[in-house]
Amino acid sequence: MRATLIIINHNGRHLLETSLPAAVAAARAAGDHAVMVSDDASTDDSLAFVSREFPEVRFLAFPRGGFGGTCNRAVAAADTEVAVLLNNDVVVTPDFLPPLLADLEDERVFAVGCKFLNPDGSLTHALGNRISGEWRRGLLSLHHETDPDLLTDTCPQLYANGGGMAFRRQHWAALNGFDDLYLPIYWEDADLGYRAWGRGWRVLYEPRSVVYHDQGSTMGRLHRAPEVELISARNAVLFSWKNLLDRGLLRHALAQQARWVADDVLIGGLPNRLAALRAAAARLRFAARRRAQERRERVISDLAILARSRGEIA
């Protein structure tokens, strides 16, 4: 299978200096694979840098489309069976690609996620490894595994982190890629994985495909601005409204979300939960449409999706 390695870039010329050579080397080492930089309206000299240093790399410049929109356009522009999405701050190892392609030989597999390490090789606060989820307080609570002993085998996971994932383009097209309901960013990869499981496909975690992710360059999700926290919380609410198809679970989740707002006064901190709920309500119409579409495609229940993605049932 041929693959296109797609690096998503926005004003990240300094990051491309490290990540692009690694991607090009990995593509060459694994055979005849393509590399593409998909640019989200950068105003720095990313284009000049790529054209000068890597003339064999396709550079696609798009108008501002957010993370999901830029990924969708880039995947549509690729012409290989497999696409590999990479953040511009993700540095791949030379042999990361073959295990991903081997896993995708199974047609039931939609996507495979890489093993994410910090630049020093540690796993502290690392995100994207063997992701699982459970419904808690009306929202999907995500767990990113950081125990190295539990990250040694290929196994199912809820979704593959959009910063380093390989997938079949045919399945991606059937799922309509990342949903623009979540624009500008956050939760689109979780949504994609959830929907893929809902259609009976699988998402895997591949520990042999190691990439290094400098989370400091993407704020590390540790100290995020209030606006960013608000978007993330709004999208978490939208995720439940769109994807929780079981009516009983949905009613329970919505009641829990009302109680979740009480934390604004009880404990404070970010995000402003009522503002997040209000922002989600502004997109309710779109969430309802996507939900209706999802209902037509879904073949597996909400609870079964989570159980399967944890490997509890086949």
């Binding site: 540790l222 707002v261 709920l277 309710l284 309802a288 209706a292």
Partner: protein, 180 residues
């Protein structure tokens, strides 16, 4: 005869990045009650952070322990002063901690604002503010009302969302559908 140990209480959520604020609160407590033992109330998550900050006695709640038991345990230490660490300079939210302080029955509350961000141009370090039991009760009452309002607003949003999602997803047609 030795003097009985005096105790002061520290209430904080001990979130990541609040270490400096907690240290400042401990210093403020030491100024108000020199030589007093600092006791903290924490969760299984925050307890190690508080221990690292040098607090020896931590009353851990969560893991199914009822709040009433925590309050009774705290009352046994008979703290005269309590410091509450806020994450905002206007002392918003934190109703849970204020209500806890009120129920424990302390005489004075030190409200500790967060230190200014290192990048901030603000040079004035906000000082802890001392309030009495009456003002604390007033704050709890006002925030309780705010909580009720927010819960009402959130319930309206959730009910509307639920109704709309169920209405939009209802099966079209059915028994009363008009047939061509």
């Amino acid at each position: 005869m030795s003097e009985p140990t005096r105790n002061v209480l520290l209430l904080t959520f001990a979130r990541r990045g609040e270490e400096r604020a907690i240290q400042r609160a401990i210093s403020a407590l030491a100024e108000v009650a020199p030589g007093a033992q600092v006791i903290a109330v924490g969760t299984p998550v925050s307890a190690p952070i508080l221990r690292d900050l040098g607090i020896a006695v931590i009353l851990v709640y969560g893991d199914g322990k009822p709040a009433r038991q925590v309050i009774e345990e705290a009352q046994l230490f008979m703290p005269q002063t309590v410091a509450i660490v806020y994450d905002n300079p206007r002392f918003c939210a934190h109703l849970k901690l204020e209500a806890l302080a009120l129920l424990i029955g302390v005489r004075a509350v030190l409200r500790c604002p967060p230190p200014p961000q290192p990048a901030s141009a603000e040079t004035q370090v906000p000082k802890p503010e001392t309030i009495g039991r009456l003002r604390l009760a007033w704050s709890v009452l006002a925030k309780g009302l705010l909580l009720a309002l927010r819960l009402a607003a959130a319930t309206v949003f959730s009910t509307l969302a639920c109704s709309y999602l169920c209405w939009f997803g209802r099966p079209r047609g059915g028994r009363h559908a008009r047939r061509p």
